[in-house]
Symmetry: C2
Subunit: 347 residues, 2 copies
């Protein structure tokens, strides 16, 4: 039998832990024979949840961790001090090679800091970006970076474009993924200093399919497969997505309750509306990978339910089997050699 893809799960992370995290882990191992999940956290609580389910026992293991890093804790301090927390302990399992991947619905800050400090960056990667998938009209796009590195430099954005391309090509099976940079106009001369400096670098990048500027307005339509931007802008994009969709649907729903006629209509459209909205639901895609680390780190939403936890775990199988990290290292290194040659040309 082939070796398992081994995933360390922060069983204590998120608003619904350990109830939904344990449930998600059980669902994952029941669905796929290739994965083994290590539930890291308070053993008595985890065992208590596990009692509810049946599952192949060789695919689930509990690893006790006494501490929990809370959402509001300053992340650098928490990672340094709470050595026996589920996040720190699980991340060391990835660092030491006991696990291939780490999944958490816990503190984003702690996961980002721990990823860099404990798991560590791949050779050649300057900054590991957080890259969630966003549902669009005709599929999904990868938004990279969406909160890991504020005040990024042009060279970071070029690496994001490369890492995002590897991910979309190999994990989502999109051939020659289209890479766009978020800009405030379609023309090349538009933009702030960062975008103006990054644009020609992306244009001259031989191993990505750069399609130029993408205006925020066109993102939901699925104009590009890889949406490159710095973290502050990416965070605003993701949160506007959630905010606008949420408010608009609330408004539509309450509008439908205004009179008898529309109430009856609402009853009739309910099933069709539900199917439609499912395609805009981020849960089905699992969490956001923090790319460019020695091992995979996946951050899922703090409010994750079992289905999101399960999908985040299953995502790790493709990531590992497709050798994404080797491919990222190759691609990032190829850019470096180009840069090197250019430098020599100039000298």
């Amino acid at each position: 039998m082939a070796e398992y893809v081994k995933v360390a799960l922060d069983a204590m992370g998120g608003d619904n832990a350990p109830l939904e995290t344990v449930k998600g882990a059980v669902e994952a191992v029941n669905e796929d024979k290739r994965v083994k999940v290590f539930l890291v956290g308070k053993e008595p609580l985890i065992r208590n949840e596990l009692k509810k389910y049946t599952y192949p026992e060789e695919q689930l293991e509990v690893v006790h961790a006494e501490q929990i890093i809370e959402m509001a804790e300053p992340p650098v301090m928490a990672i340094r001090k709470k050595k026996d927390s589920s996040i720190v302990k699980a991340m060391y399992m990835v660092k030491n090679g006991e696990c291939d991947a780490f999944v958490s619905a816990g503190s984003t800050g702690a996961v980002l800091v721990g990823g860099q400090v404990i798991v560590g960056r791949l050779k050649g990667v300057e900054r590991p970006p957080l890259a969630p998938l966003m549902p669009t009209s005709n599929g999904v796009s990868l938004l990279i970076d969406c909160g890991a590195n504020v005040d990024a430099r042009p060279s970071h954005l070029v690496q994001f474009a490369k890492m995002g391309s590897v991910y979309m090509e190999n994990v989502l099976n999109i051939k020659n993924p289209r890479v766009g940079i978020v800009n405030i106009g379609a023309e090349e001369e538009k933009g702030n200093a960062l975008v103006k400096e990054t644009f020609p670098l992306l244009k001259n990048c031989p191993d990505i399919n750069f399609i130029g500027s993408v205006e925020a307005r066109d993102i939901p339509a699925g104009t590009a497969d890889v949406i490159v931007c710095e973290a502050f802008v990416g965070n605003v994009i993701l949160k506007m997505y959630e905010g606008v969709a949420g408010e608009l649907l609330k408004k539509v729903k309450s509008g439908l309750m205004t009179n008898m006629r529309s109430k009856l209509g609402a009853l009739l459209i309910k099933p069709a509306l539900k199917t439609t909205l499912k395609s805009f639901d981020t849960e089905q895609y699992g969490g956001a990978p923090l790319l460019g680390l020695k091992g995979l780190v996946v951050k899922t939403h703090g409010s994750s339910k079992a289905v999101e936890v399960k999908n985040s775990i299953l995502q790790c199988i493709t990531f590992k089997e497709q050798n994404i990290n080797e491919k990222i290292m190759e691609k990032v290194a190829s850019g470096d050699s180009v840069k090197q040659e250019e430098k020599e040309d100039i000298i």
Copy 2:
């Protein structure tokens, strides 16, 4: 009879000019006796449109301008070279005091450049921001800056907060408007370098009602009245708003057409849905003011119809009658004196 509020309208600006611009001007003067509109552009074309309507003739005047600045022209060059264009000619009318305000649906770049170069900044204003109103669940918020000044500095953002407060208090009649800064987390220590530096300045600003960080997710719910951000982020917010709402509604509509049951339901909910969506419609608010200039400059959407042109013109009446520019100068100057005192303290 009191003097008119005089508005120079770029009759040739936008996708639907001069048809919709002239129509909008006629509707404005028919609706309000306090305004006089100067239609600036190709006289024969304008007269041809005017023939269709009846209106109080003393409230409409045609001013011939031979040239048109196209959407794609580099703005600085266009403003410098096309002296006989509708934009340049109309802006000089404001500069020379013949008009109080200028309204255009034409090239945003040309309007921004012309506003600074021809109309000129108010004393004390460092950078004039473009500030559109955004519909929210419980009213409107002012998004400031949304595209005029990329790579802004903290002192600019503080001025945006003050100018936005004056506008919301006096034009939209919101007492003590809540000012928020767009951030990637609710805590004070979050953010990029610009936000971290700006936050304490806003916190210590005595004459605005600063409520702290606002996450993009909470903007559509109407969490703040004045949403302060630098232009790149503002542009992304506005365009995500349009993009997400547009795609989602398209999706909902096509979802409703999937079967007989939902088609019937769709027929029943149509009137209620229409009322709901009207409250999310930006047209009713007219265009976005470019604040901090000697005179008012209003930029409306390139695809504006008559109703948006009309509302942009009528907006100028309140602006003038409430002496917004005097109030802006006072508020900006008050900040300067605080800064001055602080400097002296330090010395």
